[in-house]
């Protein structure tokens, strides 16, 4: 019986997905196995899918898992379980899961915070915000997932971040970015819902024109479908 247990444990360890930090620059930390402490990440460290990695200013880390190498830039954070390719169907299932997680609704509350965190540096990537706020770091990580081609995972990471850090929902550029991603994946209803919420944020003139135009386009697409 003991032998069987050992075989089962070893098998499960061997088959569990692992993540290796193949390149670490600057201050990179991680939490693992639901731990409370942030530990320093060193090159060659092997982590499991329960881990979260975050980078400090001017820091960077490359993480390798199976056939993916993902670079996390400075002031970003990511759950390692998000580094994976998802199909569109899996994305749809995961989006549907959001409502299933909730307690059955009585009424909608669409009030949004207007607080803005971090500072956007003009002339630089508008989808990267320098901030120590962990929610913004999570958003930065999600954007980087999308830029690495893992757009479905990126959408889910952003959604998760918006749930856990609702204040960061008021950053229009990133919300527009993820709403566009939804549209690009053909998820017009989900995209329209996002854009309608984005319309209530404080937008620049250009952002407002872009959001209004995309909203109209999505409505037409949905009407024609």
């Amino acid at each position: 019986m003991k032998l069987l247990l050992i075989i089962l444990i070893v098998t499960s360890v061997l088959t569990a997905q692992t993540y290796e930090a193949i390149k670490v620059k600057g201050e990179v930390k991680y939490q693992t196995d639901s731990g409370e402490k942030w530990l320093g990440l060193k090159q060659g460290d092997i982590l499991n899918s329960n881990s979260v990695v975050t980078s400090g200013a001017d820091a960077q880390v490359q993480i390798k898992t199976e056939n993916i190498i993902f670079s996390l830039k400075e002031l970003s954070a990511i759950s390692l379980s998000n580094i994976k390719q998802l199909s569109r169907d899996e994305l749809l299932l995961a989006l549907a899961m959001e409502d299933m997680l909730n307690v059955p609704k009585k009424n909608e509350n669409t009030a949004l915070s207007t607080a803005v965190y971090g500072s956007k540096e003009d002339g630089i990537n508008p989808l990267f915000i320098k901030s120590d706020n962990f929610g913004i770091k999570r958003l930065n990580g999600a954007v980087q997932l999308a830029e690495s081609g893992m757009e479905e995972s990126a959408i889910l990471a952003a959604k998760e971040t918006y749930r856990k850090y609702p204040d960061v929902k008021s950053i229009p550029a990133i919300r527009i970015f993820f709403a566009d991603l939804l549209s690009k994946k053909g998820l017009y209803e989900e995209a329209l819902k996002e854009f309608l919420e984005i319309q209530t944020l404080n937008l620049t003139v250009e952002q407002k024109a872009e959001v209004d135009s995309t909203t109209d386009e999505l409505k037409k697409k949905l009407m024609n479908n």
């Binding site: 939490q31 639901s34 402490k37 997680l101 609704k105 509350n109 856990k164």
Partner: protein
Amino acid sequence: MIFNAKILSQSSFGLTGLWGLSSKASVPFYNYETNTSNFSILNDWGISLTYGAEFSESINSNIYSISLSKTLSDHNLSGRFSPGYQKQFLFSTGEVIVINDTTTQSLNADYTYKELFGLGYSYKFTPQLSAGFTFRFFNQDFNREIVKPVFGDTLYLVRENLNEQINYWKGDLGINFFLNDNFSFSAASINLLNIAEQTENPEFEGYELKYETEALLAGSYTPVEFINLHLMYETSGSFQVSAAGFAAQFVYGLTAFHDKYQSPYFAGIVPAIGYKSKLFEIFLSGVKYFSDRKAEQNFSQFEDEGIHNIINNPYSYDKILLSLSFNIDGSTEQKVKLIDVELVEDIYPTFYDAYVDNPIAYGLAVNLTDEKLTIKPSLKIKDVNEAVIQSPEINIAPFDTVRIPFYIIIPDNYSAGKPVLSYADFYISVTSDETDDQLQKPMLVNGINAWDGKVSNLRYFIKRDVDFSMNYSKKLLSDNKQMLDTLPSALAPFYKAKILFDDFVKRLVYTSDPRATEEYVQFPKQTIDLKGGDCDDLSVCYSSLLESVGIQTALVDYKSNGTFRHVNILFNTGLTPGQASYITNNDTKYFVRKNSSGDDEIWLPVETTSLTNFATGWKIGVEKFNKEAISDLGIATGKVEIIEVY
């Protein structure tokens, strides 16, 4: 002088013919002759009067019988006064008195046999089976002229009238059985119980009613709805055959009878026609004999052959009879019929709330009328309910059939620990409180710890012991009042959950199901008292403790491992996402759920079988939830389900 005449009180001859157990007319059932078992189709009171005429030398009319019948539930009582059931024989004794040497005078005799009254009782065991008995009272009035010598100075011969009255009771049993819609059968005794007085005068000996014990057997066949065929056979060898037809409210029938003691082979027929309305019936019947009844009969034949029936014997004349009966029905006419009831599942008494919304059975009811009706279904389960439980009313179109849901209420105090095989009585009624129809079905009522394996139904185990949990939790929290009072109020639910869990794990051990079956779940008090349980029991207990102090919980049903199923819980800290950092630095350790008002709140998964401490239970719960519910899309694919307790 002793004769040996066969004079029998009755055999199974009815003045309205043979109708079997047909429900198309009630008049024939007032005849105890063909209805020994007192079978009745009445729902309440019935009264009947039969007036008839006999075509002898002259037409003699008389009231033949007046009957009363009362049905009370499955019982029926009846009584009959029968002044017309009599036969009088007048004849010369053969003795002659010579007066003045030239004038002679014959001495006469007058023997009258009467059935005066009878009583009947029957009981309906089931709609198919009934049995009953009848008692009938007879009187025999013997009068005979005799010459009596008077000795004085000279010898006188005095003519005197010798009289004797002899009473006689007889009782018989009968049974009726409906095999199906096409066949029914009856059996009865003839002269089973006889209580008779003895004659005191030797002149009358041999003329009393005889009571040889016989039996009769009858069967009816209904090939089509509008016609019945009947056969009744007596062990004496006599029999009757009849055919009865029905058209709208009219009934008609023809009975032919073979009487062993009469000739020809078929001694006669009894044609009958009747009309039946809801309130009354009118019935015209007659008896036509095929032999010449007006021919002169001699005494020696009477002496040799006797008679075997007061109203049907070789000396009986053709008759015509008019019967009128009233059915004073205080009960409701059946308007709907319950064809069948299909049980949804066995009863799990602890799921009492579930039965508020979910029927335990569906009945199939048919509207027997041409009007739209509202059916009131109701139900009572033996050993569970003291009163009948009403279900919602259902409308039904004329002659339509509908499916009726039956709901049950399990009393709070139901506490049988073992399963009971009980019976459920299903009733339907229309406008009044009278039941139109009912059906009984056997039903398994499980013990209070029984569970059907659906995690969603564990909530009922959580709710049931809430008083115990409240007392338990409050006592425990009051012991930690000082610590709790120093906390920000927003953190109270989290720390209360932690205190309760840490105490909980100190007392308990994880065990497999104590009954080695999935279908047994302990109530929180049992888990605490027994100091352990399996994942269902521990999740139920911890959830109950949290709910009892106002902490919202949900059950997480992990179905993903095929045959091995697991349950743990989520609880609501009440914290907003912005307050999550008060309890953890790791944002993978909580989940945001919108509450019913749409506000985001922090929920934590806890593995209740990890009986170490709260931190470990939380950690294991998170990892399992993250992996199976979120990363593996378990919630979306249905492999993991979140079930709100309230």
